[in-house]
Every structure is written in structure tokens, then in C-alpha cells.
Amino acid sequence: MNHLDIELQQLKAETMKMWLLVNLQLTKGKESLLNLDKDLAREVILSERRVNAYELKLDRDCENIFALFNPLAVDLRFVLAVLKINNNLERIGDYVEGIAKFVLNVDSNFDTKLLEITRVVEMFAAANNMMETVLEAFDKEDTSIARKVFQQDELLDDINIKANSIIADYIRNHPDNIDATLYLLSIIRKLERVGDQAKNMAEEIIFYIEAKVLRHRSKVEKNK
């Protein structure tokens, strides 16, 4: 293994560490919301600093590889992909932090039935699942696994679209609980964005392995 290979492997290992941390944040975010566990929410908010630290470190690692090794072809695409995945992961970290802040601020009489009717729990599970799928694709360098998330993302989109009318109905019937309900809508939006970020990461993996650019393409084209 040459020197550049070692550097690239270290970069991959660091990216996966950040990825696992973000996935864990997502799981903890879900638990804190389901149980309205404010301690866990505080933990998520604190750990967000670690996610940010990883982002800075990966940025610097990529910069160093560009400057010192002048990577080309597949190596170049890998470092470019990591640079973007790093961004996506950090953004997901921000979304989860937002969810944790909601848990911290919400009244204890929050109607947990809302979680059920808006299918937010299902969304969490789908987002988690997508993140794990993309991570597996990244680890195994397997674009067929990466392509699975395009399908999985449809569920998130679907729940997100239907959430509007569900939330509107609920507000009409429970006008005393508008603040919390709107907050929940913003959580749904955030989870939908997590799905988009996971999709972006899948596109980056396909870009680096197959040298195909899938951004802004239709679903049919992406699965080719």
C-alpha cells in the first residue's frame, strides 16, 4: 500500500467515525422525542459539538491531501466526495440538534398522540435506515447499495407531503396547542431534509466509484 492509499484509508475511517456519531445522534434524537427525555436531548445538543469538530478535521484532512498528494482520477473523486459527505453529515447533525432543542423547550403536556398521527416515528425510522444504508454503501464501496436510498427516500417525501393537512386538521381541533404542533411540523421538515442529505451522500458515492454525476437527475436516470 502506498502512502496516498494509507492517507485515503485514514480519511475513510475518520469519515465513518463521524457518520456513526451522526447516526447515533439521530437515534438519540428520536428517543428523546418519543419519551420527551430532556436529559437525552441535552446530551444530543452537547454531542453536536463533536460533530462540528469532526467536520473541521475532515475539511483539513481533505485540504492536506489535495495539497500534498495531488490526487487524481478515482482518488480525486474520493476526496471530493468526502468533502461533500462531510458537509451533509454536519448538516444532519444540525437538524438533529434542532429536534433536541424542541424536546428541551416543549411543555410536558405535549400530546404524544400527535407523533403517531403525523407518522413522525416512521419518518425517524426511515431516515435512520437510509443513513445506515448509505454508510454501508460507503464502507463496502458498493453503488448498488447506495442506489437503494433513492427508493427509501420516497417514504419520507410521502409522509412530509401528507403532514400538512394532518397538522392543519389537528390545529383546527386543538387550537390551544398550536405552538407545539407547528414545532412538530418543523421536525417533519427536518427529517425530510435528512432524507435529502442521505440521498446526496449516495450520489457522491456513485460519483466517486462510477464517475457519474447524478445530481438533479430524475429517479429513473439515477437507477441506471
Partner: protein, 250 residues
């Protein structure tokens, strides 16, 4: 219309085949980089374009090399006029043991130009062309050996350009130069492209990336891949090319 074309070119040093069925077409006013490990045949291939290999005993070529549509290996081709059209710059700067001025004027004199004023004019414009004028204008009568390596190499490029060729061949022109001189020569190549068709052999991948429009990868006498430089360095189609440019060879 292509400036240079090679069609099914084979080349032999005695019994050993150095080039196997090379087909390349080069457009005018472009820079083509030839890359590949030592002994892959890229310098041999470069030297076909001005028939430099003729100087080596017991060599044989098959196939066609066309410049401006004419087969340069056809019978009756005047090698001197071919070399006037196809200039060459070598790996190590090799100025003649003459003054700076005479180095550049040399090609003109051997080509029978005697008009003193014309020679002076041509020497000045050519030295300006290689961005060396400000550095040497006050010492044109001094020996070329007094110049630094980078200056000598630019002087050699000026010597090649003075006879107004349309093709310039460069065989690792910066491998003996420091980074600043290298940058100057690369900048020069970029500017010269508007007037000349340039073919450059280089071992420096980044240099190929910086200066060339297309890149041809040679391996063991074969042309493995020839494509735009962008494609070769971001997404080569052939694994062997990728292994070479990413340093995972052999």
C-alpha cells in the same frame, strides 16, 4: 484537418519493437502530452516527428507519419526542411558554446539568411517571445553558459522558434529546472500554443495536467489511451491508465 497524424506506426530498434501500431491524430494549435513509464516508447514516438530516429543505426519504421497531410517518411522528403518546420527542445538545456545572440541567430544563419538587420530583428522578437529579453538584453554578447539553467532552457526554446517552425517537440523540457523556471516554461508553452502545435513528453503528471489539451498514455510500446487531458486525469477509461496516473503501477 489534423496537424500531425500517425497511422499504424510500428518502430523497431534492430529486432526489438519499440512502438506497436500507434494511431494518433493531433489538431493544430494544441498541446499534446505523452506520458508513460520509462522505456514505454513515448520519446521514441516524439522523435519520429522530426525524424531524429534516423540518426540511430539499425532502426526501422512502418506505417505513416503525416504532418500537414504529407507523409514525412515518403521518398524524396527533405529532412532539413522537415526539421525547419518541426523544432525540438531537449531535456537538458543544450546551448551552443556561443554568445546568447549567436545561439538564437544560429538557425537563421545555417538556413542561409545573411541580412544582418533581419537577423537582429528576429533574434530580438524571439527572445522576447520566450520572455527572456529583459533578463539578457544587456549581455547578448556574453556566453550562453553564463545563464542559469532555466534561462538556458528558454534560450534553447528561442533557438528552436527562431526559424519559425509550426510544430515544437519538447522532450521533458523542465525535468532539470527548479519550480520557478518550470513555471515560466509552462506559462510559455501555454502562450506558444496560439502559434504552434506542441507535443511534450513529461514524467510530471501535474505538468501534463497544467499544460496540455490532450494526453496520450503509452505502455510497453503501445498507446493505451488518448483523450482530453481532463478525461485522462479525472476519469480515464482504462484501468491501466488510472493505475499509472494514481501511482499504483506494477
Amino acid at each position: 484537418m489534423y496537424k500531425i497524424e500517425s497511422k499504424n506506426v510500428d518502430f523497431f530498434y534492430g529486432a526489438s519493437q519499440a512502438l506497436k501500431n500507434i494511431n494518433i491524430a493531433i489538431k493544430p494549435n494544441t498541446v499534446t502530452a505523452l506520458i508513460g513509464p520509462s522505456g514505454c516508447g513515448k520519446s521514441t514516438y516524439l522523435r519520429l516527428f522530426n525524424r531524429m530516429n534516423d540518426l540511430i543505426d539499425n532502426t526501422k519504421i512502418a506505417g505513416q507519419v503525416l504532418i500537414d497531410g504529407e507523409d514525412i517518411y515518403a521518398k524524396g522528403v527533405n529532412v532539413d526542411s522537415l526539421r525547419k518546420k518541426v523544432g525540438m527542445v531537449f531535456q537538458k538545456p543544450n546551448p551552443f558554446p556561443k554568445t546568447i545572440f549567436e545561439n538564437v541567430a544560429y538557425g537563421l544563419r545555417v538556413n542561409g539568411i545573411t541580412d544582418k538587420k533581419l537577423i537582429e530583428e528576429r533574434v530580438e522578437t524571439t527572445i522576447k517571445q520566450v520572455v527572456l529579453w529583459d533578463e539578457v538584453k544587456d549581455k547578448l554578447k556574453k556566453s550562453a553558459f553564463e545563464l542559469s539553467g532555466g534561462q538556458q532552457q528558454r534560450l534553447c526554446i528561442a533557438r528552436a522558434l527562431a526559424i519559425q517552425p509550426s510544430v515544437v517537440l519538447m522532450d521533458e523540457p523542465t525535468s532539470a529546472l527548479d519550480p520557478i523556471s518550470t513555471a515560466k516554461v509552462e506559462e510559455l508553452i501555454y502562450e506558444l500554443k496560439t502559434k504552434y502545435t506542441i507535443v511534450i513528453v513529461t514524467h510530471n503528471m501535474q505538468q501534463a495536467g497544467r499544460v496540455s489539451d490532450t494526453t496520450a498514455f503509452f505502455y510497453m510500446g503501445e498507446l493505451i489511451e488518448h483523450d482530453t487531458t481532463k478525461t485522462i486525469f479525472t476519469n480515464p477509461k482504462i484501468e491501466r491508465t488510472q493505475n499509472y496516473i494514481t501511482g499504483r503501477f506494477g
